[in-house]
Structure formats: structure tokens, C-alpha cells
Symmetry: C2
Subunit: 150 residues, 2 copies
Amino acid sequence: MSHRDPAHASILIEGMRKNRVRVTSPRRAIVQVLEEAEDHLDVEEITERAKKIDASVHRATVYRTLDMLKRLHLVDELDLLHLRGDRHYYEVRSGGQHAHVICTRCGKVVEPRGEIMASCIDRLAEATGHRIDFYRLEAGGVCPDCEASD
Amino acid sequence: MSHRDPAHASILIEGMRKNRVRVTSPRRAIVQVLEEAEDHLDVEEITERAKKIDASVHRATVYRTLDMLKRLHLVDELDLLHLRGDRHYYEVRSGGQHAHVICTRCGKVVEPRGEIMASCIDRLAEATGHRIDFYRLEAGGVCPDCEASD
DNA sequence: TTCTATGCAAATTCTTTGCATATCT
DNA sequence: AGATATGCAAAGAATTTGCATAGAA
């Protein structure tokens, strides 16, 4: 069940096909990096990893590909409240949108999903009258572990 | 009841004094701009407006002052989901934190505050176990007016 | 075959920094 | 007086763009 198995194309590749953008080798590499990432990556890191899959991948292509994926709402862009520097981080938008809660002591990020977030956003929509299509909620605070080890 | 009335010092100036950072003329100008702003300003715009109050204000000072105000949690930094370009926007954190809901059609921003946001964040804190100190929630969608005029 | 995406390098834009001087407290 | 903030100019990052070529549909 590899990510390259054509019968099980990745969410991102599928989304790209659906939107009639071309599936090229650099894009395949970048997408694979994003889908295999365990944490949040910046452009530098994505480029580095993508080069290991396809050495020809250029940083400019990474920017262009990320723009494309953002426009299609296939990836989200975060900045983790700048608690880790001024870079931007990217993640696949699979399994619905979610919040990011960053511990200001240890830097760990947890990602609440599902009903909690849905009801939160529903009530926001109700209060403003908007139809809300996407959102980004990033919060900073102290995680239970750090709170305990005082 | 002017913003310069020493008896009614601005929230930001008060906050600065409380934190023992110096109240200088450039900082006064920048703070006045932030407090009088009706909308969200980027660094360029803040610099321009501050120069009208104190012509000597330099862009570098604006960056340094905003950093200082962010560190003291007196202003918040937004990017409005990059729906208006890649710049950063700043606003005074008065009257508590709040969300920003941006209409993807007309660009208008509304700012839900108060109980809705508080309960939202409370539940997030409960779900993760974090003590949440600050947050940023930006959402994109279609506002009622735009929805109506289809 | 036609249209889109890429690499590359240069240009832009955004932000930070060193340092001598000016300014707050 | 003593510590901190400022202006300026230059450096450093981050991101975008023009263009000829390569590659997907």
C-alpha cells in the first residue's frame, strides 16, 4: 500500500486530477513528502526532502506547488503563532480541519479535531451569519505535562 | 478626552509603563496610530501614518516597537488567512481576544467577541488539558450580504 | 500537438542588525 | 548618569518572476 501505488492514489494527487492540474514528477515528490510528514514542515524542509526523491526539484517549484495546493484547499498553511520562528508550515488537509494548540514551554503541538471543533465553528457561523468554508485556529498555552512539572 | 491626555493614558502606554519599557516619541506615534485605526494595518501603513505624527519615525523602529508590543501581548498579529496578500496586520488587544471572520467575496472582516469565543476556547482547553493563554482564530467564508446577492 | 509546469537566476519584498547618537527615567 | 531606544544604511531572509526548455494530457 505504497503512496506510489496508482490504484491507491493519494488524496492530494486525486484532488489535483479532479482540478485538472498536471501531475508531474516534482509535484509527486512534494506531495509524497507532505503526506509522509509526521510533523509540520517549512519550505526549506520540504525542498530538502523532495530532492531526495527527485533531485531536480527546485525551491521555486515548491513555492509554486504549495500555492497551487493552497488554492485548491488541499493543504493548509500555518505559522504556529510564530512561536517557532517566522516561517510558514504546511500540512495536508485530510480528515477535516482542526486546531493547533502549541505549548509555550515545550513546543509540542496537539491537534483537536472532530466534534469539538465542528461545534465551535458552527456556533461561530451562527453568531456571524456566515457560511464558513475554512478556518485556522492556533492557540498558545501550557500543556498538562509542563504544568505538572513545576 | 484626547489620546494624549496624560490622565487618560492609552491602554498601550499604560501597559508599556507597567512593563518598564520607555515611552518615546516614536512609540507614542505608533501607538496612537494603532489605537485610532478603524481597520487592520500592515507595517507599511503604520509607518506612513506614524510619520504624519512624528516625521522622524523610521520603519525599523516600527518593526522593533511592534515586536515589543507583541511580546507584551498588547497587540496581536494577524494575517487574515492571506486573503489580502502575504502581509501581516496588527491590532490592539483591547476588550479581550476575538476571532476574525473574513468574507471571501467582499473582504469584510467581522470580529466575534465575548461569550461565544470564551466558551469556544474553554472547551478547547478542556479537551486538550492546556491552560490556553492566547489564540488566533481566523475563518474564511461568505457573509450574509454576499450570500443574499447571488 | 498544445498547453502547462519547471529550472534557473535575477529581482522584489520583507525583516533584522550594527553602530554611533539621541533620549527617557 | 546610566540604560535603552532610534535612525540609518547595509545585510539577510523569504518569496516571486521572466524566460527558454521540458514534459503531461
